[in-house]
Amino acid sequence: MRIVVTTTTPDLDSPVDPRFGRGAFFVLVDADTMEWQAHPNPAAAASGGAGIRAAQFVAEHKADGVISGDFGPNAHQALTAAGIRMYLFGGSASARQAVERFKAGELETPGGSVGQGRRPRG
């Protein structure tokens, strides 16, 4: 299973970056072998619609799931359309620990649909 985690530095042992759209790096992990590769987030500097651009990147890399602190409504919509599952991870532990907790089935998914109208996250 391919999982993407947002991180603050390009390392599986880096702390998880709480923002999906503007997280600094994406670490792609094969959850079974724990082999990983880091990529800078192409959306980090986008002036708008960063979550959408980030979702596209994750989809292009054929991820099955994404772990991050927070997903804005546009990212949520895009990832859902792409069939990519979202998992929430708060706190400052590392991406490696986040993946381990994901494998143990401990991570929550964001609640329900994000509803009518824009609900921007600030």
């Binding site: 619609g49 959408i52 989809a59 895009a78």
Partner: protein
């Protein structure tokens, strides 16, 4: 002649000045070149329009305005991703075989529609506001825009307001601009022959006036200042105007009577009719200054 009324800071009295200008021109029955007759006033503060509350126009036409957004024909779409590549706003995403459009990010530029190699995109207008057109009892032609609650972009509504409600030949146009110094203000003020900046003699008023002056300079429009609520605050504003060579075209002293009148929806001229000839004089002065710089 197109006169824009702006300020930078909110609440300085733009609407007070714009409506007074309109009323004073409409009341002038003299006729001829020195009295251009009832003007067209366009309330360009489409996020929070107020001028209609004071001028009470009878609206004759109301219509929707919007932004053309892409609609993808899934049968023709090959998910090549070209549309998402050209979109400068990330308003389109191609995820697997699906194309998603994010309407609130779309600026309606048409790039995706032109870029699609399969011709799979057509444009559909998404309404974001309404325009209303009418006349007041005194014969002032009135137009305003109202942005739909929840919509982010005021610019397109202001642009279409100015394109679709137009003056008669020779009619003076008064543009009541929104507060601020960015895109919506520029959209409202563009094309004006003169920029009237309304300010108050307080530190916030002066700070924001400097910014508004930069807007006017960027657009190359001649400017003048009206000091509203004169008497409060301090002298820094007066010093600024003097040192910048910024003409002070009128001072309206702070008076609780004016504030109370405004609170109840009364225009300045209803509270103090003596201001009418002062506003008319100011319009003539503005006309002279436009000719000097033109």
């Amino acid at each position: 002649m197109r006169i824009a009324v702006a300020s930078g800071k909110g609440g300085t009295g733009k609407t007070t000045v714009a409506t007074s200008l309109a009323l004073s021109l409409a009341a002038d029955g003299r006729g001829g070149a020195s009295a251009p007759g009832p003007p067209l006033i366009l309330d360009c503060d489409v996020e929070a329009p107020n001028a209609h509350l004071f001028l009470q126009p009878r609206f004759e036409r109301v219509w929707e305005v919007g932004i053309p957004i892409p609609q993808v024909d899934e049968a023709r779409c090959t998910a090549c991703g070209r549309c998402a590549e050209v979109c400068a706003y990330n308003a389109m995403a191609v995820l697997g075989a699906k194309v998603l459009v994010f309407p609130e990010l779309c600026h309606g530029c048409g790039s995706c529609t032109r870029a699609c190699p399969e011709g799979a995109i057509t444009e559909v207008v998404r309404p974001i506001g309404v325009l209303r057109q009418g006349t007041t009892m005194g014969g002032i032609d009135f137009g305003h825009g109202e942005l739909t609650v929840g919509e982010p972009m005021a610019g397109p509504v202001i642009r279409q307001l100015k394109q679709q409600i137009t003056p008669r030949p020779g009619q003076v146009v008064i543009l009541d601009a929104p507060p601020g110094t960015s895109c919506p203000v520029v959209e409202a003020v563009r094309g004006a022959d003169f920029l009237l900046l309304v300010t108050e003699p307080t530190p916030f008023g002066l700070h924001d006036l400097r910014l508004a002056v930069q807007v006017g300079r960027s657009l190359g429009i001649p400017m003048g200042v009206i000091i509203n609520r004169d008497g409060i605050g301090d002298e820094s504003l007066a010093h600024y105007c003097e040192s910048e060579g910024m003409p002070v075209l009128m001072r309206i002293p702070f008076e609780r009577a004016i504030a109370r009148g405004f609170a109840q929806g009364q225009t300045l001229l209803e509270t103090h009719p003596a201001y009418a000839p002062l506003f008319r004089e100011m319009v003539l002065e503005i006309g002279r200054r436009i000719e000097e710089t033109g």
